[in-house]
């Protein structure tokens, strides 16, 4: 076993050294906005090297009793290195100058909150997603087609919500637990059955309540997006999802069980409700009307098969309000949006202006967008 472990650790060391070389070669092309992430990646590479050297030191002690531990340690580093290779190195190695737009927005986003200002951020290609693991860097995934445009950048604000959740996890989990307790009460039948269907019904109620853990996290992230981005967020969200098909409006009852996200139509309705409370009436109206129109055209009826009832709304929104109080995301500043020409520190006015320009004249929008992105990046140098 000792020899097997020596070989595997020596191999890991070679792997780590080669990776270190590639990272050093990439250093000159790293944009300034990615430097904090780059430094973390190179430090992490050094940490892997030290860990492997420690394994080799333990093997030199000739203590048979610790071999199972050194084996497990080696497996942990091997898996971590796989994750590192798969997701964490590519934002550096695939990096290009055009990443600066996204990185600028992410840099502002992390810098705008005391709990995330020291957490580096990076982008990678993929469907919208994030890997929040504070205090380690956060990787944001975005489809390549959206990375060089303004309209879908507000969707980063939803993903950032996952990071805020992770920063406050014990408190957030406690709030979700309270909401689930309320839902248990709502779902409790007024008359208890005592027939052969009773256990099945009880299991179904249990599934609904457990599913609301993931749903509450996602609704919180939607609310974070709206609070930070204002109208721009609801426009991005609505536009991104509304042409993805029938499943965005209605999902089969069985498919709702332990589904990672609530049905998008429900998310839209909760966003519309919150947007109205934030006095974003036009954006709320726009999203509501477009989703209702598409649903009508497709002859889809609103039905969540017991996973959501109108009576849940107050408890859900109250929980999300409490979660927002806990996380304190930077609030959308309407005045800054009005003064968008003068404001340069926050991208939010620019993102809201982008949507106004888009709705004003779709044909001329692309040309306008290209010129303002160049100006925005030039200003930020």
């Amino acid at each position: 076993m000792r020899n097997i472990l020596r070989q595997s650790n020596a191999d890991l060391l070679c792997d780590i050294d080669r990776l270190g070389e590639r990272l050093r070669q990439a250093a000159t092309a790293v944009p300034p906005e990615l430097m904090p992430f780059y430094e973390w990646v190179t430090n992490q590479c050094d940490a892997f090297r030290e860990a492997v050297k420690e394994h080799l030191h333990y093997l030199d002690l000739n203590q048979a009793s610790i071999l199972p531990d050194v084996l497990s340690k080696t497996q942990v580093v091997t898996r971590n290195l796989h994750l590192f290779n798969r997701f964490l190195v590519s934002p550096v190695l695939r990096g290009c100058p055009s990443d600066r737009l996204c990185l600028r927005v992410l840099q502002w986003l992390h810098g705008a909150h005391p709990q995330t200002q020291h957490i580096p951020a990076a982008i990678s290609d993929g469907d919208y997603a994030t890997f929040p693991d504070p205090p380690n860097p956060t990787i944001y995934f975005m489809p390549p087609s959206a990375q060089h445009r303004l309209l879908y950048l507000p969707l980063f604000f939803h993903e950032y919500g996952h990071l805020l959740y992770a920063c406050h996890r014990p408190e957030m989990d406690a709030l979700v637990r309270n909401l689930q307790g309320v839902l248990v009460q709502f779902l409790e039948p007024s008359v208890q059955r005592d027939d052969r269907h009773a256990p099945h019904d009880q299991e179904r109620r249990s599934t609904i309540v457990e599913t609301w853990y993931e749903w509450t996290v996602e609704l919180f992230c939607d609310a974070v997006g709206l609070v930070i981005g204002g109208a721009a967020f609801i426009h991005s969200f609505s536009m991104y999802f509304r042409m993805l098909g029938r499943d965005e409006f209605q999902v089969r009852a069985e498919a709702l069980e332990h589904r990672g996200h609530p049905v998008t139509w429900l998310r839209i309705q909760l966003l519309v409700d919150r947007a109205r409370r934030m006095n974003l009436h036009d954006a709320a109206q726009g999203a509501e009307v477009s989703w209702n129109t598409i649903a009508e055209e497709m002859k889809v009826n609103e039905d969540y098969f017991g996973f959501y009832e109108a009576e849940f709304l107050t408890a859900i929104q109250q929980t999300i309000d409490d979660m927002l109080t806990e996380a304190e995301p930077r609030h959308f500043d309407e005045q800054a949006v009005e003064d968008s020409e003068a404001s340069t520190s926050s991208p939010v006015p620019l993102l809201n202006r982008a949507w106004r320009e888009f709705f004003k004249d779709v044909q001329k929008y692309s040309e306008w967008e290209e010129s303002v992105i160049s100006a925005y990046l030039a200003e930020q140098r």
């Binding site: 333990y58 610790i66 942990v76 997603a129 693991d133 993903e159 989990d173 689930q180």
Partner: protein, 150 residues
């Protein structure tokens, strides 16, 4: 919008737990062998803290899960719910799992974690070895989801 973050979070948490288990286990074994391992004492204490927090987080989830299949587990993500269910299954398997972790209370395990007594070293090492098995089985599912299959 992907929910892979759940698997990644669970994967990283499991990896951190395994690192803590291994660090503490090596420290205790070298101590038992009379090899002073003073340079790793701080790391071993940190590992104890990681494990204490984990047990504190897991205990209420297991309490919920032990109420039965038809009662919901509250305030826990799907992977943590699954881990709690795996823990309960392990408790029922006395051939495979017989350490204090599965046969005694969490309070007892917390005591073992903080105990400087020599006679507590062996039962603590048994707990660590069996917790490692449980977490290794759990991380396998996350690793498949996060890293894919080869």
């Amino acid at each position: 919008m992907s929910i892979r973050w759940l698997a990644v979070r669970s994967f990283q948490h499991s990896q951190d737990l395994l690192a803590a288990i291994n660090t503490l286990s090596i420290h205790l074994k070298l101590q038992a062998a009379g090899r002073t391992d003073s340079e790793h004492t701080a790391q071993a204490n940190q590992a104890r803290e990681v494990l204490r927090s984990f047990l504190k987080m897991l205990e209420p989830v297991i309490t919920d899960a032990e109420r039965g299949e038809t009662k919901p587990v509250l305030g826990a993500d799907p992977r943590l719910r699954q881990l709690a269910k795996s823990f309960i299954t392990a408790k029922r398997n006395c051939h495979r799992f017989h350490s204090a972790l599965f046969r005694d209370t969490f309070t007892r395990v917390q005591q073992l974690l903080g105990s400087p007594k020599e006679q507590d070293r062996k039962p603590l090492l048994e707990c660590l070895a069996e917790l490692r098995v449980l977490i290794e089985e759990h991380v396998h599912t996350d690793a498949e989801q996060v890293l894919g299959e080869f």
